[in-house]
């Protein structure tokens, strides 16, 4: 297992290099000059030249990329923001706690609601509750979450005065954004739980368990859920990863200073070091999340666990990919 984790950590390196290269080239070839953007039109051509020289922007593409990566690898230095002239690492770490917290809370909410409702739905397929739950989840995945956020503010902040409309400082501030972000994720998780449970329930070993006279609760929560976990874990991992950099809309509606908003602002401003550093950081965190997801797989499914202890066979690999 440890060997597996170590190998996965090693595999992250090429991925991160890939991410940095993709983003670096995209920004490099984007129209517009950082010196223009950062210094504004009051700057003289000499000022701009000086700025380019200072930031190494006058060097060829590959040299720039190499210099940047050298800093990242040797000193863990993601560079300095053009706009605030602060280290990118500091800026990200200032924003990351809010984003992490928002993602974690939303995912927690989504798992609790999604898995519970999904199981209830699956065990009572075609009942009133099932229809209600599937319809609601369908609405949940279909609703633009920025629209939902606005509606929540109108109802719960303005009309009922239960929760504050903006910021992220106290537990009361967390509720509306977490619900906004969590709705979509919980709907997804609910749908995934329901369908994989439905598939499992029809399998022979569940019938066997039932036939052996085990109570329905044991059958469902122990045998069935355990086997339905893989796709559920996948969806949870995906939602969590997506939220870490992708909750931009929710962050802007609730005026939360998170990583997503930081990144979008940086992209708009052509604040290259911020964008590169930020994307690299997010990619790193997402890789870690994926790794955790894979480790969880192995707890959920002994077949996958065996894959890590024995040489990887094609069949097992296929099973995993299919999952």
């Amino acid at each position: 297992m440890i060997k597996f984790i170590f190998r996965r950590l090693l595999m992250m390196i090429p991925v991160l290099i890939g991410v940095s290269f993709v983003i670096f080239s995209m920004l490099y070839f984007a129209p517009g000059d950082a010196a223009d953007v950062i210094l504004g039109d009051l700057a003289t051509p000499e000022d701009k030249q000086l700025f380019r020289a200072e930031h190494g922007l006058d060097k060829p593409f590959l040299v720039q990329y190499f210099n940047y990566m050298k800093g990242v690898v040797t000193e863990g230095d993601l560079g300095t923001s053009y706009v605030t002239r602060q280290p990118v690492t500091i800026e990200i770490m200032e924003r990351f706690p809010a984003t992490l917290q928002l993602s974690a809370m939303s995912v927690f909410l989504a798992v609790v609601i999604g898995v519970t409702v999904g199981i209830i739905s699956a065990t009572r397929q075609y009942s009133f509750i099932d229809h209600l739950a599937t319809s609601l989840s369908m609405i949940g995945v279909s609703m633009p979450n920025f629209w939902q956020g606005m509606m929540l503010i109108i109802i719960f902040s303005v009309a009922l005065r239960w929760f504050p409309p903006s910021g992220f400082s106290t537990p009361m501030h967390w509720v509306l954004p977490a619900v906004t972000v969590g709705t979509n994720a919980s709907a997804n998780i609910m749908r995934m739980t329901r369908s994989s449970m439905l598939e499992i329930i029809r399998q022979d070993y569940i019938r066997t368990a039932r036939a052996k006279g085990q109570t329905e609760a044991v059958v469902i929560w122990k045998h069935a859920l355990k086997n339905a976990l893989i796709p559920i874990i996948t969806v949870v991992g995906l939602s969590f990863g997506r939220l870490l950099g992708g909750a931009v809309l929710t962050e802007s509606i609730f005026s939360i200073a998170g990583v997503g908003k930081l990144m979008v602002d940086a992209i708009k401003l052509k604040n290259f070091p911020m964008v590169q550093g930020g994307v690299l950081f997010i990619a790193f965190v997402m890789s870690i999340v994926n790794l955790v997801v894979d480790v969880l797989y192995s707890f959920a499914d002994p077949r996958i666990r065996s894959m890590y202890t024995r040489p990887r066979t094609r069949k097992a690999a296929t099973a995993k990919e299919a999952a």
Partner: protein
């Protein structure tokens, strides 16, 4: 030979269609999408006004017979704009899905069929793409290429490529070793021919389902991009940008954001219903 195949196909289609129509939700979804398609094809016939008919003396009129959904902050008829918006959203969904589908199928086929080095390289590229949140990827692409309708579709399309590549690759892995492929190979069929005429048709079901679902998420992403000002430029009646520009008035004039919001929701909702229906119809294993 070809006769029996097509007959078999027709029979398969009939069976699938029969299963599909048994699903009430899916039929409703399909019906609503048909309605949207009509709006998208002939908006000028359905909409009583043009999408940019401003009249500043007519601002913020409540929904009425003259203006079904009321008028917006420029005195434009919201109903007409929602109708014209169908064209934008559907085009966007279809084109971006075509882009991601095409790229994804090619990558998935190569990775799945050839395996080894090709597989490793492609899957690492996919890993790279999966490590960047879709919206950030889309925002960066739009920032690099500039804001335009096509670039937006491209940005959203590229973000969805990994999904297809994975689905196709998994599907190929599961059929690759089966006898009929071996048979084709031993008959001397080229790789391309095997992929195009034997493998791809056999993994169409998951692709169709994936494509349907991602039209829905493309519509949502586009609305989101417009909302943060990197999507479609005014006065084009894109639903997301209607929400974005109307949000300042949300507390005074509910209809300004309610109808575009509902349009997005119902569209995505029906596409998802359709997708669910298709999945169940194409994969009868899931139906009891």
């Amino acid at each position: 030979m070809s006769d029996t195949v097509s007959m078999k196909k027709r029979g398969q289609f009939k069976e699938t269609w029969r299963r599909f129509t048994k699903n009430k939700g899916a039929v409703i979804g399909l019906g609503f999408i048909a309605l949207l398609a009509v709006c998208a094809l002939i908006p000028s016939v359905i909409a009583p006004y043009g999408f940019d008919d401003q009249l500043l003396s007519r601002r913020f009129q409540s929904p009425s017979g003259a203006h079904l959904f009321g008028t917006d902050e420029y005195g434009r008829d919201i109903f007409s704009r929602v109708v014209y918006g169908c064209r934008i959203s559907l085009t966007l969904g279809l084109v971006s899905v075509t882009i991601s589908c095409a790229l994804g199928i090619v990558l998935g086929c190569v990775a799945g069929y050839y395996g080894k080095v090709a597989d490793n390289v492609i899957m690492r590229v996919i890993d790279v793409m999966l490590s960047i949140p879709n919206i950030l990827l889309a925002v960066s692409i739009v920032a690099a290429l500039g804001t335009s309708f096509f670039n937006l579709m491209l940005a959203i399309g590229i973000g969805a490529v990994p999904g297809y590549a994975r689905v196709v690759r998994a599907a190929i892995l599961s059929v690759k070793e089966q006898e009929y492929i071996e048979a084709a190979r031993s008959n001397g069929a080229s790789d391309l021919r095997i992929i195009v005429s034997h493998i791809v048709p056999n993994c169409m079901a998951p692709i169709i389902v994936q494509a349907t679902m991602s039209i829905a998420s493309a519509v949502l992403s586009a609305a989101g991009m417009s909302f943060i000002g990197l999507g479609i430029m005014p006065p084009t009646p894109e639903w997301g940008s209607m929400l974005s520009s109307g949000r300042a008035y949300i507390r005074d004039y509910w209809y300004v954001v309610t109808f575009p919001g509902l349009a997005i929701m119902l569209t995505v909702f029906s596409i998802n219903l359709l997708g669910d229906g298709l999945r169940d119809a194409l994969d009868p294993r899931l139906k009891s």
